[in-house]
């Protein structure tokens, strides 16, 4: 067998494996699409993986009506939390990288330790604290908690990026008469935009997908975000699989849109973040 034939064969084999794996990876979501488009009668007569007899698009409208308030809650929480978190973390990363701060390394490690504290260890005291200030079942309460858990990762990403920005820029800014706040907003933040964009996307996904904290601190059904909301939906309409599946698809739409359009940032960001 010639070398080029051998290579061609091995390429065919690789494509075959990749194709089969792709089928495995896409299949579960395809079945969700099938189920979401079925009528209830179709679903109870047939399996979950059969193609719908007729396409019932109205399932989506009905599911949307039942989950739109969860989607709204998630959106509101994300829209406030994500930019606020980035501002807070960028200010901190600025202090840790550009202000000749004696405690910079110590503080960074102290904050990094937070990444290994499991959320579970904070739940009871946090619950007591939020109760004491009447912030349980409120958006400010859950946003405050989300901000806290976003800090170690956010600072890790932004500090890494800011460390790589050349010092000459700072000196030029000082000569131009900038104070530190000007330097932060006019020089460092614009240069750090790629890192900020990445963090924005990662943080949006993390906030949208968060479940445990939402489950504990938002017990009022009307205020639940989409993750907890989907479980409530499942609990209330446990027999209505078609609507639940339509709801699942609607709920992952924002995430998929972000994924498709910002994939490059997402992956490079994930890599950059863990590489520090």
């Amino acid at each position: 067998m010639s070398a080029s034939l051998k290579r061609k064969l091995s390429n065919v084999l690789v494509y075959l494996v990749l194709f089969l794996l792709s089928v495995i990876f896409i299949m579960p979501v395809i079945f969700v699409v099938f189920t979401a488009l079925k009528s209830n009668a179709d679903l109870s007569a047939n399996t979950f993986y059969s193609f719908p007899k007729e396409l019932v698009w109205s399932n989506f409208a009905e599911a949307w009506n039942r989950i739109k308030h969860y989607m709204g809650n998630s959106l509101l929480i994300s829209i406030v939390k994500v930019p606020l978190g980035i501002l807070v973390n960028a200010l901190a990363a600025f202090a840790l990288t550009r202000l000749n701060f004696k405690w910079a390394t110590g503080m960074f490690i102290f904050i990094l330790i937070g990444m290994m504290v499991p959320m579970q260890a904070t739940l009871v005291p946090l619950n007591m604290m939020l109760n004491a200030v009447n912030l349980n079942n409120t958006f400010p309460g859950i946003i405050f908690v989300y901000l806290g858990f976003g800090i170690p990762f956010g600072i890790l990403v932004l500090r890494g990026f800011m460390l790589a920005i050349p010092r000459d820029l700072d000196e030029a800014a000082v000569i131009d008469g900038c104070n530190e706040l000007d330097k932060f907003f006019r020089i460092i933040v614009p240069i750090a935009m790629p890192a900020i964009a990445t963090l924005f996307i990662l943080d949006f996904l993390a906030t949208w997908n968060e479940f445990l904290l939402a489950q504990i601190f938002i017990t009022k059904e009307s205020m639940q975000p989409i993750t907890a909301g989907l479980l409530s939906f499942q609990g209330q309409h446990s027999t209505n699989y078609t609507l639940l599946n339509a709801g699942v698809l609607i709920s992952i739409l924002p995430v998929m849109v972000v994924y498709v359009f910002f994939q490059k940032y997402l992956i490079s960001g994930m890599v950059g973040a863990v590489k520090g």
Binding site: T47, A92, V124, P125, I151, M270, K275
Partner: protein, 292 residues
């Protein structure tokens, strides 16, 4: 002026530090205090029991032992299967292939779904009469394996784990791909000239040069395995018969369903201890390499 220069960093750091202290540091230390008490969360009398809760969990709480064992199974499974598959995918996709980006997206996209969505999606797959997996297993002639996987205590944990691999394999894959792409070409060219076999090249060039990536992948995977919660809660709720409880979920039940605050806090501190052992080397590694 010098005083201002000293205070300034603290001003910039203040919002993050304040929130961090209030949300993570103070609560987790306070839960350490609570773990030494017998308390139901509302009654005014808290009874100090010292290490009583910790000893009770280790010696008398069977579910805690199951949870600990399940976390270990999850950890070993993640370290071998999840990382192994991630590396394999990365090696395949590191070749000059058409459609690389497409395949990479397909293997990575489940990672951006929430654990709850993955749990719901895979519950359909495992449905005992209508699910695809039952159908598939019967189709390939393994009828006796076609048990209701999620409701059988012997198989439930593994069934959830498969769903977790489907969700999570994209992350190690992407990290390994990045690592592979940062390896220079020269060692490989030299290896070809020296007549090295593909496996030898992999063993003596690729693996050693991926060392940094391995450290990161191991650390994130281990911590992820210790903290696993959403997908288990969503798929089985820790059942059937507590067979899929892990430390996180059992902590949730003890604390928020049964109101054993002290015991729940002790579970969470066991979790912290284990995570500490796992991640301290990682923190040292990261802080070392960012000094330049």
């Amino acid at each position: 002026m010098r005083l201002k220069a000293k205070i300034l960093p603290w001003l910039f750091l203040f919002p993050a530090l304040f929130i961090y202290l209030m949300v993570i540091v103070v609560p987790s230390l306070y839960s350490l205090v609570l773990s030494f008490f017998d308390w139901n969360g509302v009654s005014p009398d808290k009874k100090f029991v010292g290490l009583g809760n910790y000893i009770y969990l280790l010696t008398e709480d069977n579910v805690f032992q199951t949870a600990l064992k399940n976390n270990l199974i999850w950890l070993v499974g993640s370290m071998t299967i999840l990382i192994g598959l991630g590396l394999a995918f990365a090696l395949i996709l590191n070749r000059q292939l058409k459609g690389r980006v497409f395949f990479r997206s397909v293997f990575y996209y489940p990672y951006v779904l929430s654990g709850i969505v993955v749990a719901i999606v895979w519950s359909w797959m495992y449905h005992p009469t209508k699910g695809f997996i039952t159908f598939f297993i019967e189709k390939i002639g393994l009828e006796k394996w076609a048990t209701p996987w999620l409701s059988d205590p012997k198989t439930a944990l593994y069934a959830v784990f498969i769903a977790a691999v489907w969700q999570g394999v994209g992350l190690p894959m992407v990290l390994f791909l990045a690592g592979l792409q940062s390896i220079p070409k020269e060692p490989y060219e030299a290896a070809v000239i020296d007549g090295a076999k593909p496996f030898q090249t992999f063993r003596y060039i690729t693996l050693p040069l991926l060392r940094d990536t391995f450290v990161i992948v191991f650390a994130t995977t281990m911590v992820g395995a210790m903290k696993v919660y959403d997908i288990i809660y969503g798929m089985t709720g820790g059942g059937p018969m507590n067979s899929t409880q892990v430390l996180s979920s059992w902590m949730y039940y003890q604390t928020f369903k049964y109101n054993f605050i002290g015991i729940g806090s002790a579970i969470s501190w066991y979790l912290i201890f284990i995570c500490l052992i796992v991640i301290v080397p990682y923190v040292i590694f990261i802080s070392k390499r960012s000094h330049y």
